[in-house]
C-alpha cells in the first residue's frame, strides 16, 4: 500500500516545483552529462532521432488539438454571432444579443442558482464526509478498515446511471422526491466512494510526526485534523473538489429524474430543455447559454489548477 499511497499522494504536491511533463527541454542540465558520455557511436543518429521525435511529438499534439478545438470554436463564435448556424464561422455581426436573450431569471439565473446550491452543497458534503472518513482510514488501524476500503473501491466502479430507477422509487417512498436537499444527499453519496479513496491516499502522504507532536501537546484527534492536517491537505482537497464538483455540475440524469418542479431544476436540466425546444432554431442563444453554463466549472478548474501548479496535477491522484 505504501508505495501506491506515496505515488498517488505525492504527485500533486510536487507539481509546483516540477511540472509534470517538463521533460528534457526544461532540464538540460540533467541531460547534458549523458550526452557527453564516451559512447559516441551513433550519437548523431540519436540526436537526429531525437529531433524527429520532437517533430512527431509537437506535430501530434498540435494535430489533435486542432481537431479537438473545432467544436469548441463553434460554441465561442456562434455565441457572439447574430446569425449563427451550425458551421464554425467568423461572425459577420458581432453581438451580445444572444447572451441578453438568455440572461433572465427563468432561463439562466434561477437554474444556475439551483445548480450552485445543489452541486455546491453536495460537493461540500462529499468533501466533509470524505475528509473525516479518509482521516479515520488513514490513521487508525481497526478490523473494519480493510473491508470498508474494499467496499469503497468496489463502489467507485458502480454505474450510477443503473440505479436511477430504484433511486427514484426510494425517493418516492422516503418522500424525498422533488426536493433539492434529498437530491443533494444522493449526489453527495454518489461522489463519496471516489472522494474517500482519493482523500485517504492524500492523507497517507501527510507525515505522522506533526500529529504526534500535537498529541503530546494535548490536542484531540479532531483538533489535530482541523489545525494540523487540513492546512497541509489543500492540494488534495482541491483535487477532490474538482473531480466532485465537475462531475456533479455536468450531471444531467440525476436531477432530471429526481427533481420535477420547473423552478427547482438546475442548469444541467434546463439547458437540455432549452435545447430540445429551441436548440435547432436558436443556435446562437444555445451557444451562449452553453458558455454561461460551463463558466463555473471552467473558472473553478482554472483557479485550482493554477494554485496546484498546472492542470496536469490532477492526473496524479488517479493513476493507480
Amino acid at each position: 500500500m505504501t508505495d501506491l499511497n506515496n505515488r498517488v499522494g505525492a504527485t500533486p504536491r510536487q507539481q509546483p516545483e516540477q511540472p509534470v511533463g517538463a521533460g528534457r527541454h526544461t532540464e538540460p542540465d540533467r541531460v547534458r552529462p549523458l550526452e557527453h558520455t564516451p559512447v559516441t557511436k551513433g550519437s548523431t543518429t540519436r540526436v537526429r532521432g531525437r529531433l524527429a521525435g520532437a517533430i512527431v511529438a509537437n506535430g501530434g499534439v498540435l494535430l489533435i488539438a486542432a481537431v479537438f478545438i473545432i467544436p469548441l470554436l463553434w460554441v465561442i463564435l456562434a455565441s457572439f454571432n447574430r446569425t449563427a448556424g451550425l458551421t464554425v464561422s467568423i461572425p459577420d455581426h458581432w453581438t451580445l444579443d444572444n447572451f441578453r436573450a438568455v440572461l433572465n431569471t427563468d432561463t439562466t439565473y434561477r437554474p444556475m442558482a439551483n445548480g450552485v446550491i445543489l452541486c455546491g452543497g453536495a460537493a461540500a458534503l462529499t468533501i466533509a464526509c470524505a475528509t473525516l472518513a479518509g482521516y479515520a482510514l488513514s490513521r487508525f488501524k481497526t478490523k473494519y478498515k480493510r473491508p470498508f476500503l474494499l467496499t469503497i473501491l468496489f463502489s467507485t466502479g458502480l454505474p450510477i446511471t443503473a440505479i436511477m430507477v430504484p433511486v427514484y422509487g426510494l425517493f418516492v417512498q422516503l418522500n424525498l422526491i422533488d426536493t433539492i436537499s434529498g437530491t443533494m444527499l444522493f449526489m453527495a453519496a454518489t461522489g463519496l466512494p471516489f472522494a474517500i479513496w482519493l482523500m485517504k491516499n492524500f492523507m497517507d502522504s501527510v507525515p505522522l510526526t506533526l500529529e504526534e507532536a500535537a498529541w503530546t501537546d494535548g490536542a484531540s484527534r479532531m483538533q489535530t485534523l482541523w489545525y494540523i492536517i487540513l492546512p497541509l491537505m489543500w492540494p488534495g482537497i482541491s483535487v477532490v473538489a474538482i473531480f466532485t464538483f465537475v462531475g456533479m455540475w455536468g450531471n444531467f440524469f440525476v436531477p432530471f429524474v429526481l427533481l420535477l418542479s420547473p423552478d427547482q431544476l438546475p442548469a444541467s436540466v434546463s439547458i437540455y430543455t432549452f435545447f430540445s425546444q429551441y436548440g435547432e432554431v436558436q443556435f446562437g442563444q444555445l451557444a451562449s447559454y452553453s458558455l454561461i453554463y460551463s463558466f463555473p466549472v471552467v473558472a473553478l478548474f482554472l483557479f485550482l489548477s493554477r494554485k496546484l501548479g498546472g492542470a496536469f496535477a490532477f492526473g496524479g491522484a488517479v493513476k493507480g
Binding site: 501506491l4 504527485t11 509534470v20 511533463g21 528534457r24 527541454h25 549523458l34 511529438a57 499534439v61 498540435l62 489533435i64 488539438a65 479537438f68 467544436p71 469548441l72 463553434w74 460554441v75 451550425l86 464554425v88 470524505a130 473525516l132 472518513a133 482521516y135 479515520a136 481497526t142 476500503l149 474494499l150 473501491l153 468496489f154 467507485t156 466502479g157 458502480l158 446511471t161 443503473a162 440505479i163 430507477v165 430504484p166 422509487g169 444522493f186 453519496a189 454518489t190 463519496l192 466512494p193 474517500i196 444531467f252 444541467s268 439547458i271 437540455y272 435545447f275 436548440g279 452553453s290 453554463y293 466549472v297 471552467v298 478548474f301 496536469f312 492526473g315 488517479v318 493513476k319 493507480g320
Partner: protein, 288 residues
Amino acid sequence: MKQAAGRGAPLVPATVLLLVFLFGPILWSIYAAFTNTSLSGAGAAHSQFVGFANFTKAFTSNGFLNSVLLTLFFTLVSAVIGQNALGLSLALWMRRAVAPVRAFGGAVVIGAWVLPEVVAGYLWYAFLAKDGSLNAVLERVGLHPQDWLFSLPILAVSIANIWRGTAFSMLVYTAALSDIPQEIEEAAEVDGATGRQRLFHITLPMIRSSIMTNLMLITLQTLSVFGLIFTMTRGGPGTKSQTLPLYMYEQAFSFGDLGYGTAIAIMLLVVGSVFSLLYLRMLAPETT
C-alpha cells in the same frame, strides 16, 4: 472498546450516506427487478411478483441484444481504443513537445473534459449535423457530406465520447510517465534502443499498472454514459445508438415499465461489478 467506537466515529456520516443512498437502492432494485411495477396502469397501483419474467424478456428481446452489442461497441471503440490510445499518445508526445505546444494542447484537451456532458453533446450535435462544421470541411476538400448522426450514429457518439474523455487518460498517463526515472530511458537510449523499442520494452511495462487502472476506470465511466448520447441522438435514429443506459431509460421512464427497466439496471450493475472486482483485484495486493 470506547476507543474503537471513537475511532469509527469519523466513518459514520459517510457510512450512513452510502448505506441509505447507494446500497439501499441496489437492494431495492434486486427486489423490483422481479416485479411488474410500472409508471402507469395496473402495475402502478398493485405491483406483482413475476419471477424471472423480466430477465427472460430481456434475453429474448431484440432491443436488449441490440443494446448490449451497441454498448460493447461504444465501450470498446470510445474507451478502450479511443480514449486510451489517444490519451497515451498525447501523454508521450507532451513530454517532448515544446512548452507553448504543450500548454495549448493541454488546454484544449482538458477543456473538452471539463465541459458539462450536455454541452459536449450539443457541440457534437452541431459539429456532425447535416449543415455542421464537419460537412463544411468535407465539402471544401471535395468529399461527400452526409448526415452523420443519422448514417453512423453509434460511431458519432463514440467519437464524441473520445473527445470528451481523452483528457482523463492523458492526465493519468502523464502522471504515471513522470514517475519513470529518466536515467532508465536514457540508459536504454545510450545502449542504442530505438524509440519504438524503448516504448514497448521499457516505458509501457513500467506504467503497466497505470494502464490497467485507467482501462478499468474509463470502461466503467463509459458503461454509464447517458447524457452525452441522450442529447446527441436520444438513442436513435430508431435504436441505432441505444446503449444499455438509454435502453433502460426508455423502457423504465418513456414506456413506464419500471420493473423491466430495473432488471436491465441489475444487469448493467452486474457488468459494472465484474469490472469493479477486476479493478479491485489489481489494487488489492497493495491494500494491506
